[in-house]
């Protein structure tokens, strides 16, 4: 896995979340690329990729939005680096679909009023780190190995599915995150929920769904003895980090709800079985950049809800 070129240059599609709720992902991605001496140039005036809501109700719209973004990306040199798992999935799916389906390609070209360019390689940050940059070089560049940090690597849904499209890793048993973590000295744990859905965009419409699914993920990580969870998707991060307090509140309140009081729950546990411990959620780029010696104030930790600093202090990583 030795890189062909000495200097890697990428065009960059951050996506909407990275400019708002996932800003620390954007900050740490830029910091990581800088410290690894890789070029990263944002695509000018990119649009929203449509994410899940667009393809949920209007596939043609979703394909057209992504095709438009892909042709905008042609203006910048280098493979297209994408950090958000949803954007990555949509852009890849669009390339795949339009190459196979000539009728849809025609409709999309009418919609974007120009030719669709489908040949620019779209790469997720994980792919760039593990394959383009290379695990060996990653290990060499590590200045501050994340010794003793037990990490649960959470893939979520869109990084590897459907199996024929993203070409990132195995659809059922990927290991790319664990490989990168080992290269920077951390210790990935074995756990059950690394591919389960976090509730994704139900966070707006049906937060109850997110509370239930994300709780299962957090519980599984705690059981496996993980200190923290690592993600590569701003939506997963939002659900696990922003909603973590809500999840705890709901767990604690479950026995004392109005419903429970009226119908009489059999087990009365005031206060529950003790407050579950906080699980900080990191982006892959935050952990990798930390290991490369980037100072912590340049990793966007101030934007995270569950403060990771106590954990990092405990592990002597600050």
């Amino acid at each position: 896995m030795t890189p062909k070129k000495k200097f890697l240059n990428y065009s960059y599609y951050p996506g909407c979340s990275l400019h708002a709720s996932g800003r620390e992902y954007d900050i740490s991605t830029r910091a990581l690329f800088k410290v690894l001496n890789m070029g990263l140039k944002e695509v000018p005036d990119w649009f929203c990729c449509g994410a899940t809501p667009a393809h949920n109700v209007d596939e043609l719209l979703s394909l057209s939005l992504c095709a438009k973004n892909l042709s905008l990306a042609e203006e910048v040199e280098g493979d297209l680096a994408v950090a958000c798992a949803a954007c990555f999935s949509r852009l890849k799916v669009t390339q795949h679909h339009l190459k196979e389906d000539q009728t849809k390609l025609k409709q999309v070209e009418t919609a974007i009023d120009g030719p669709a360019s489908l040949d620019k390689p779209v790469k997720h940050i994980l792919d760039i780190l593990a394959r383009d940059f290379g695990l060996g070089r990653l290990e060499e560049h590590t200045k501050k190995p994340l010794m003793g940090l037990k990490v649960a690597c959470y893939y979520g849904c869109l990084l590897t599915r459907p199996p024929e499209v993203p070409d990132l890793d195995d659809a059922e048993d990927p290991s790319i995150m664990e490989d990168i973590l080992r290269a920077v000295g951390a210790q990935p744990v074995k756990w059950s929920h690394r591919m389960e859905c976090c509730g994704a965009n139900f966070t707006l419409s049906r937060p109850g769904v997110v509370l239930k699914l994300s709780n299962a993920i957090l519980e599984s990580a705690r059981l496996a003895g993980a200190d923290c969870i690592m993600v590569a998707c701003p939506l997963c991060h939002g659900n696990l980090d922003i909603r973590q307090q809500g999840i705890k509140d709901k767990q604690n309140a479950q026995e004392s709800t109005l419903f429970g009081n009226i119908f009489g729950s059999e087990v009365q546990q005031p206060g529950g079985a003790g407050e579950a411990r906080d699980v900080p959620i990191f982006y892959i780029t935050q952990l990798a950049a930390l290991a490369m010696g980037v100072p912590t104030d340049k990793l966007g930790f101030e934007s995270v809800i569950i403060d990771p600093k106590p954990l990092l202090r405990e592990k002597n990583l600050l």
Partner: protein
């Protein structure tokens, strides 16, 4: 596609209305089986429903099956039997998270995730009888945001959702917290190429009017 997200229609919780479609006894005949609908679903999704032999792997792995009245494998079975209306009358299609676990694991390569997309589109276009209006409202606002701003404007998304769904207190405490962390932006700058996005929306609408696209 509906243009403006209006207020939600009043909820219909009458037992008759729900059970009318959902629990009615199924008599299969040429009259009761809507095969044209199934053909439309297959054309939109590019996947056949007939290949399914009901192994149930999709439902076993589905993270949302617990929230659905028809789990994924039953959705396909109902389609095989030409009972598309029963599927659209429920919430199942709107409770699909699009995680694609089903499509990944199907031994017969039934692309259930795409079938769900197709069903949602047909329900959406027909302003279908589905009771799941929150998810539909969220989708509508999300797409409206793309059309107006070119990118997502999360503060407006959340605020508009609460206003239009009547849940004024939903996640009220999260807003200020996220604002102070810089995770929500108070103001949003429009994309400079916003006219191009409007063009895409318009041309898609035109194509559909002319019957050139589904």
């Amino acid at each position: 596609m509906p243009q403006e997200a209006g207020p939600l229609p009043p909820k219909d919780h009458t037992p008759v209305a729900r059970s009318a479609v959902k629990n009615k006894l199924m008599h299969l005949s040429n009259e009761t089986m809507n095969k044209a609908f199934v053909k439309k679903v297959e054309a939109l999704s590019g996947s056949s429903v007939r290949r399914c032999f009901q192994c149930g792997k999709c439902s076993a792995g589905c993270p949302m099956a617990a929230f659905m009245e028809h789990p994924p494998n039953r959705v396909v079975r109902l389609l095989q039997l030409g009972q598309g209306q029963r599927v659209l009358a429920g919430r199942s299609i709107w409770y699909c998270a699009s995680c694609e676990t089903c499509s990944t694991r199907c031994p017969n390569k039934v692309d259930l995730a795409s079938i769900m997309d197709a069903l949602r589109k047909l329900s959406w276009d027909a302003d279908g009888p589905s009771k799941e209006s929150y998810v539909q409202l969220a989708n509508r606002l999300f797409i409206e945001n793309i059309r107006t701003y070119g990118r997502q404007y999360e503060l407006r998304l959340g605020a508009a959702f609460n206003m239009k769904s009547g849940q004024f207190l939903k996640d009220l405490m999260l807003g200020p917290k996220l604002l102070s962390k810089g995770k929500l932006k108070m103001f949003h700058s429009k994309n400079k190429n916003i006219a191009q996005i409007e063009g895409i929306f318009k041309r898609i609408e035109e194509m559909r009017k002319k019957g050139e696209a589904l």
